[in-house]
Amino acid sequence: MIRIEGLSKSFVDKGGAVHALKEINLTIANGNIYGIIGLSGAGKSTLIRCINRLEEPTSGSIYIDGQDVTKLDNEQLNSLRRKIGMIFQHFNLLNRRSCYKNIAFPLEIAGYDKSTIDKRVDELLELVGLKDKKYSYPSQLSGGQKQRVAIARALAAKAEILLCDEATSALDPDTTKSILRLLKDINTELNITVVLITHQMEVVKEICNKVAVISEGGIVEQGNTFDIFSKPRHAVTKKFLKAEGTSPELIGIDKSKYTKLLNITFLEENAYQPIISDMVKSTNARVNIISGHISSVQGKPYGNLVIDLDGDALTIENALQYLKNNNLCFEEIDLSE
C-alpha cells in the first residue's frame, strides 16, 4: 500500500518558488491500477517522481508498506527502488545494450548470478511478447516494443509496484491499447500495483479502477473511475470529459430557440433502456434531440443525451417526473448563458 500524507513540493529558483504540489493526501491500495490525471503543469510528474524520490519532497510523508520513504538513507532507498519499477514516456532504454541486456540490468546491479538472470530475462521476454527480439538493440525497435522492453526491465527485479509516467503518450492509439492491455495483464496476473499518470482520458477509462484528478498541485477529486467520470464534479474533470466529447458543449448554439434543455446522464443499466421513447409515449411531450454520446469506463456503459422538451407546462412537468421515476440523473441547462 502506498500512503501519501501532506506531501508538498516546491521548486525554488531565481524567478521565485513554484509550488508544484500542495499538501497531497492519497492512498493507493495494493492491486489497484490507480490513475492520476491532470492538465499539463498540474504536478503529475512531480507527484509520481516523489514516490521513488527521483524528486525530493519538500515536506510530508510517503509510506510504502508502512515504511516512510522520505526518511530512507541512500542505501535503503536503493533497495526500496528495486521493488518499485518505473517506466517513462520516452522509454529510456540503454542504447548500447540489447533487449536482453536491458532487462538484465536491474538484475545485474542487484547482484544476481548469470544463470538466474538468463532464466528471469527469458520469462520476462515471454511475458511482454518479445522473445524474437532478445538480441535486438533499442534502435531496431518500434516505440511500442521499446515500451515493452522497458516494462520487462521495470519488473525484472520482482517489483511489486509499477510507476508509469505518461507511458503511452508517445505511442499511437493502437499501440497505446496494446500496452494498456499488457499493464492490465501484469496487474491481474502478477498482482502488481500500477500507478499511472496521464493527460489522456482514454487511458484512465480503459484500465484504471481508481482515479485522482490533480489540478494546480492539489487533488481535486478521487474515487472509483466510473463514479468520477459518470458524475464529474470538479471543473477540471468536466473539462476532460468535454475534450473527449462525452460532456455537452453547446458553444455557439443559440439557446434561446429552446424551451427546456436537459442534459441527461445514463449510467449502467439505464444506458440500455429506451427511456426517452417511453417517456414520449406516456406523456406526449415533444422531444428534440440536440446531442448524445455513449461510452464505457472499464466495460461499464455510461452516456449522456442533451434534449429539448417542448409542450405545455403540465406536459413538461409530467415528463420531468417520468425521468425522475426512472432514476435518470439530469440537469437543466441554463438557457440564458
Binding site: 527502488r81 542504447n95 546491479i109 527485479a157 510507476l163
Partner: protein
Amino acid sequence: MSELFNIFNKLFQLMPKPFMETIYMVLLSAIFSVTFGIPLGIVTAISEEGHIWQHKKLNRILNILINITRSLPFIILMIAVFPLSKLIVGKRIGTTAAIVPLTIAAIPFVARLVEGSVKELSWGIIEAALSMGTNTRQLVFKVIIPEAFPSIISGITLTIINLISYSAMAGAIGGGGLGDLAIRFGYQGFQQDVLIATVIVLVLIVQLVQYLGNTVYKNLLR
C-alpha cells in the same frame, strides 16, 4: 629518372627514424592522457550541480585546473614543464622528454571532451537507472561509460590528431620526429622535397587515424 631515384633514396634513409619517433611520442602521450583524462572528465561532469555526484567545490577546482592548462599555448607549456620532464624521465629535451608536455597538454583536452560526452547523455537514461536502485559507482561503470563510449572514441580520435600536430611542434625543441625532420631539412636546409614528403606523410597518418576512429565509432553505434 635518376633524379627521382635519388630523392626517394634520400627520403628512404631520412624518414623511418623520425616517423617512428612521432609514432612513439603520439602513442605514449595518447595512452597517458586518455588514462588520466577520462576519469578527470567523468569526475568533472558528475560532480557538477544537479548531477549524480554533486561536489561543487571539487567541481570548481577541476574546472579551474583544466581551464588554466587549456589556455596555455603549447609552445609555452612545453618550456614551462622542463623541470617536470627532468623529474619524470631524467631529461629536459628529447623524444621521451617530449611525452611529458604532450601528455599534460592533452589531459585537459581529453577531460573536456569526455565531460561533454557524459553531459550529452540523455538525463532520462540516468534517471531510469536511478529508479532501478543503481548506486553511483554502478551508474558510472554500467551506464555512463558504456553509453558515452562511442562519443568518447570520437574524442580520443580528435586527441590523437591534435597530438600529431603538437608532436611536430615538440620537434622544434629537440623532440625529434617528423616535425623536427621538416624543420631541419626543409626549413633550415632548403630541401623542399623533404618538406613536402613530410607533409604528405603527416596528412596520411591523420587520415588513417580519422578513418580508424570513424570506423570504430560507426561499429559502436547501432
